[in-house]
């Protein structure tokens, strides 16, 4: 997908889809639901003020990203979870997998989660991610590889711990 798509005003359904995509991206950055909601709302209002709406996904993502790093600089977003936000223990196998993954992703930093999200969820190539994040393609490829290895190691370690516990 090219990032430089022309602007047009989306209809309500499209805008909702953009908001959901923006939320997921914001969640990948913050790993925190309420912060992600705040971010996507702030970005939406900013775009509404500037352009009369959310006109493109890449613009929304860039706005969210800028807001996120602005707030990080001002230390308004802290990179740990409060006790209230710790997920409840899983009650079945599927939710257990979900929770394990949430923990695994939570152990990544925002840069690693962002790259993983853009690559695996949004389906962007390393070149496209490099354009969005202003990094070289090789840097992005290297980040994807290292993050994947890190996740796999964490997953294996977690699996071994569970086996030994049994």
């Amino acid at each position: 997908m090219a990032f430089g798509m022309p602007f047009r005003t989306p209809d309500r359904q499209e805008q909702r889809e953009l908001l959901q995509a923006g939320y997921r991206y914001a969640f990948s950055l913050t790993n925190h639901q309420a912060d992600a909601e705040d971010l996507v709302q702030q970005a939406a209002l900013k775009l509404q003020r500037a352009y009369g709406g959310i006109q493109a996904k890449n613009l929304l993502f860039t706005t969210i990203r800028n807001l996120f790093y602005d707030q990080l600089r001002r230390s308004r977003i802290v990179r740990f979870e409060s006790i209230d936000e710790v997920p409840e223990p899983a009650s079945d196998a599927e939710s257990g997998t979900q929770m394990d993954l949430a923990e695994l992703l939570g152990s990544l930093n925002d840069t690693e989660r962002e790259v993983i999200y853009l690559h695996y969820v949004e389906g962007h190539s390393a070149t496209e991610i490099g354009e969005l994040l202003d990094r070289s393609r090789n840097t992005v490829l290297s980040q994807i590889r290292r993050t994947r290895e890190k996740l796999q190691k964490l997953a294996e370690s977690d699996s071994n711990q569970q086996s030994s516990a049994l």
Partner: protein, 195 residues
């Protein structure tokens, strides 16, 4: 028992399962509905201002250039007259009145006779010779100021466009003072030894 999905799929499923609640979506939409788009602020256009500034600069450069050229031409003539005066060359023609000089200096294509009598009243003439000012033929007359008895050299040349670029002035060049003026048809230069 099913094999676990690849990590990539799990990640995709995990994030795809995240979504804004309906109430959160409505809240954002409502907030967006309350925000009026700001009118697009056009970046200030510097085009006309830059053009005007450029025009002023060009005009200033032209005027400055013309003035500079005028100063340079004047300076060159003044220096030339001072040098001619310092040479104190012998007069080729002995005469005490301008009409007499005019009669003998037949190579001159302009009249030596001044528009006003003030020149002949001011100076006593003793002789004249041909000379050159800025490459054009001119006359230099040996004169004495009737008022203070100061000897000097009076230069007269046709006011060609080239000499017309000079300006009226009185300049002291060390031991010689040079005064330049014109009467609309001729350029006059008077050089005398500074006191």
């Amino acid at each position: 028992m099913n094999a676990p999905a690849p990590l990539e799929d799990q990640i995709r499923d995990y994030y795809q399962s995240q979504s804004l609640s309906e109430s959160a979506l409505e809240s954002i939409e409502a907030a967006m509905g309350e925000v009026r788009p700001e009118p697009r602020r056009r970046s200030p256009s510097f085009g006309p201002a830059m053009m005007a500034a450029a025009a002023v600069v060009v005009l200033a450069a032209i005027i400055g250039g013309v003035q500079l050229q005028r100063e340079m031409d004047t300076r060159r003539v003044v220096v030339e007259l001072a040098q001619n005066h310092r040479k104190s060359l012998q007069s080729e023609f002995q005469a005490t009145a301008i009409p007499e000089i005019q009669a003998v200096m037949d190579r001159l294509d302009f009249s030596l006779l001044p528009a006003a009598d003030s020149l002949t009243e001011r100076f006593q003439i003793s002789g004249a010779r041909y000379c050159s000012i800025s490459g054009q033929l001119a006359a230099q007359l040996r004169v004495v100021d009737r008022g203070n008895r100061t000897p000097g050299t009076l230069f007269v040349a046709s006011l060609t466009p080239k000499l017309d670029r000079t300006r009226n002035c009185a300049t002291c060049l060390g031991d010689v003072t040079v005064e330049l003026w014109d009467d609309g048809a001729r350029m006059y230069g008077l050089a005398w030894n500074s006191q």
